[in-house]
Symmetry: C2
DNA sequence: TCCAAATTCAATTGATCACTTGAATGAAAG
DNA sequence: CTTTCATTCAAGTGATCAATTGAATTTGGA
């Protein structure tokens, strides 16, 4: 009788635990975690989120409603559309905490990281602090490899946008001298891993940023909105 | 087909999300969160954990196995018994992140906090930093109101142990001059709330510590093991 | 007012989870 | 070596969740 006690139980400790469990339950599905990562990039409609997460429309709507009931996202109506956004930046801390536990303790996660991600980038990623410092000194080319619409929703101040799909034919847009730091949606967003692997094959010095645009923004570091 | 894609899907992003979701799934039950809080006090047997969490034996064992598979706890055999402990202190960060999201975004959690916990202690709790500082200056009486066996498993250095059940008849053990800071298992452990309410009724100046023994220990602050 | 688009709701089916019971391990003690 | 005790495993039932489908709702425009 899962959770059925919670509504009738007057034990405050148990009631509180059940409400914490409801938050965890909302995170307990891969599709919702993927939707959350996309919601974290900026406010977008159900239709847009369904498309980027590879879900059908009604299914995405259901998942988003669950996330909203758990307090992880909020929505507002804008004309015909309903736009979803993160309820607060602390949601990124929660996602990061889940990620760190899985990285160090879940065999499946370690296998995927070793088998896919480390194969593309075995170097230490660039930390928030180091990136901010090198950006100030203009000692790095910062490359945002997300699609242009996501870049326009918000990006790290000083970044140039070359979506991964265009990277191979736009290599001339990158200065050859400086090291390139690539970032995208988060710590394990595949775009930046693929970008770094491609750039290295083409003779660039390239590394990844340890996190993504949402974490940068949540740290209070400078961002820009709009196309370049 | 919940999660069934994960095993056959070669998409690394989805596989990673599914493994993160498995961690969240392990947190998605009030009983497991309660077990985790008790495991965080120190290493204990399945039987002992079942008793303190108010679960029957087999049920507690099942929940603990789930927590272990998700990498949140580890177990070791000690003679006839199997002892469970947290896999790493970062699990406390994860629990804290869940708690903070629920506190600020889940209506049910806010209701319980306002209706039960704030009724017993409307004052700001004492922060880690402030408590460490005042302990060094001996400017506070630190009171551990957990049962004696938990105190013996580990406690904040300098604390005296009066279990909540004995507090009313052992008030004379507390010096009258200094402010009393009470703590127990964590941020919303009912013991310290009840203790503070009782002490105030009896004329003491009393506040709660913002967290509990596990968080204090995880912060690297001084602890002691054994009975006083 | 009526229609079209975006989203949510309602209902269905199959899968997974929670709790219980009884049997099966695995280590320790006689 | 058998017994005992702590724990885990296996299986069954009822509840909850995931994905899909079609209907209902809300808003903006014709």
């Amino acid at each position: 009788m899962r959770g059925s006690e919670s509504t009738t139980n007057t034990n405050p400790k148990r009631a509180l635990y059940d409400s914490f469990a409801a938050v965890a339950q909302a995170l307990a599905h891969g599709s919702r975690l993927e939707l959350l990562e996309h919601v974290a990039q900026g406010e977008r409609s159900v239709e847009a989120l369904a498309a980027v997460a590879g879900l059908n429309f009604a299914n995405a709507s259901q998942h988003l409603l669950l996330l909203r009931r758990a307090g992880l996202v909020r929505s507002r109506r804008d004309g015909k559309r309903v736009l979803y956004r993160l309820s607060e930046p602390a949601v990124l801390d929660l996602l990061g905490a889940v990620r760190r536990i899985a990285e160090s303790n879940v065999a499946e996660a370690r296998d995927v990281i070793a088998g896919y991600f480390q194969a593309r980038d075995s170097l230490e990623p660039v930390s928030r602090h180091e990136l901010a410092d090198r950006l100030r000194r203009k000692a790095v080319t910062l490359l945002d490899v997300r699609p242009s619409d996501e870049f326009a929703l918000g990006h790290v101040a000083g970044a140039i946008n070359i979506p991964l799909k265009e990277l191979l034919r736009r290599l001339d847009d990158l200065p050859r001298g400086k090291e390139v730091v690539a970032y995208c949606r988060g710590a394990y967003c595949v775009l930046s891993f693929e970008a770094v692997a491609l750039l290295r094959r083409k003779g660039f010095r390239a590394r990844r940023f340890e996190a993504g645009y949402p974490e940068w923004r949540a740290s209070g570091l400078p961002v820009r909105v709009g196309s370049p």
